[in-house]
Amino acid sequence: MSSEERFIRRKRRKSFPLFGGRSYQTRLNRHHSQWRILAGPIVSVLLGSLITTLPFFSDLPILPPFGFMIFIAWRLLRPGMWPMWVGLPFGLFDDIFSGALMGSAALTWSITMLVAEFIDSRIIWRDHMFDWLIASMFITIYLIASLHIISMVQTPPNIWIIIPQLLFSIALYPLVVRFCAAIDKWRLDR
């Protein structure tokens, strides 16, 4: 296969309408490993959702929502990497393991993607601190919304029970970003 042919083929593959592909062609003779590019972020979010299967026993819901945090860390670190609809599949996976009602994360994560898209169109150049602020806002709203969804089916727990979890999550967010950045480095290695 000649290099022109290969170029045309890749271009066709990239033009599948639901994925925002790259609009330019690399001129280097080295290529990224496709599975690394795809798998790194996806697996990290799924593992984040699976954290609850580890034996943490706590009275308060103190464990930060790692799945959601890794999800928004990737979204803010690499806007446009994922198609906008990924909130649904990731959210459904999280719902299976979180113990919350089925569909709650699917809903909130989808809305998160929409809001992130809106933020991207308004605030284009952001630094890490600003991303942290946006992520803190996301986490706060997400935790409060999750609690409200729970209270739709049973006696609402006191809203203050999420405060320690919230502070933990916000404080841990930079670490989560470092974790994602490390995966990103590995992912784009060639």
Binding site: P17, L18, G20, G21, S23, L50, T52, T53, L54, P55, F56, F57, S58, D59, L60, P61, I62, L63, L77, P79, G80, P83, M84, W85, G87, L88, D95, I96, F97, S98, G99, A100, L101, M102, G103, S104, A105, A106, L107, T108, S110, I111, M113, L114, E117, I124, S146, L147, I149, I150, M152, V153, Q154, T155, P156, P157, N158, W160, I161, Q165
Partner: protein, 304 residues
Amino acid sequence: MAAPNNRRPGFSRKAQFTIFATYVLTISGAIVGGLLLLISILDPKGFSALRIVGAEATAPISRFFNSIRRTVSDGSENMSFYWDAAAKNKAMSRKIKALEKENFALQITKLENDTLKPLIEIMQNDELDIITTGRLISTSASSGRKFALISVESTHNIEAGQPVISDDGLIGRITEIGLTTARILLLTDTGNVVPVIRLSDGLAAFSTGKADGSLLIKPLNLGVNPFNKGDILVTSGNGGLYPPNIPVAKIIRKLDDSGLARPMADPATTDYSTILRIYDPTANAEIEALKQAAELSENSAVIP
């Protein structure tokens, strides 16, 4: 990092449609999530099969890390025994001496009881009906709901509603069952209401979880708050799910019209948990029958 420019289509009709399609997909994704949520609000057990498959698939991971956690915490506990050993030894010897005296008095009372009970014909059913034992392997530690997963050899005889206890007291009741795991609704979940009585005088009350590790104890007759710090509550056996006289909680603070209590059993320090048979199966059958009748008569009815 700034967003890539593929969200700004310019004049390309195809690019415009692509962006439109992703928006449509995302919004319909949110709607699908909302619908699923609605279904699970109307029928909380609806997706239990999916959750159980997930729990079964990840149970080996949980078991593995749980055994590590147990080994580590055992080690640190053993080390802590050596700390200040002489003083502890002294205090313990003193306690044992005091207890021996008390034990003697208790033995006499027991003997007296055994002779008196047949006289007043009280049915005494001290034997608990054990189905199986298992280990707690994980909890929903990041959610406002309080579930735990118990790992057992087989879930052959296990059914929803059965109480789970540890050596210290009540832990919760079974809600969903898989092949080697079962999901427990913990005592501290806000959806778990347990009829209890005060050990000292049999005062009837209800215990409700607060989702923060404590329980709210509400007396049956409102108006006066009879609870004091240190009161011990046990299951009453009313309602038919829990057998009577299982320790539930200890009052730690007196509130306006109720008591704040701490559960006797802590899932984190529980070695083995025991699943018991439902105390009075007919009671549960009646509830199920009522639920089914209500569902038949009114399809849209929500039964909590």
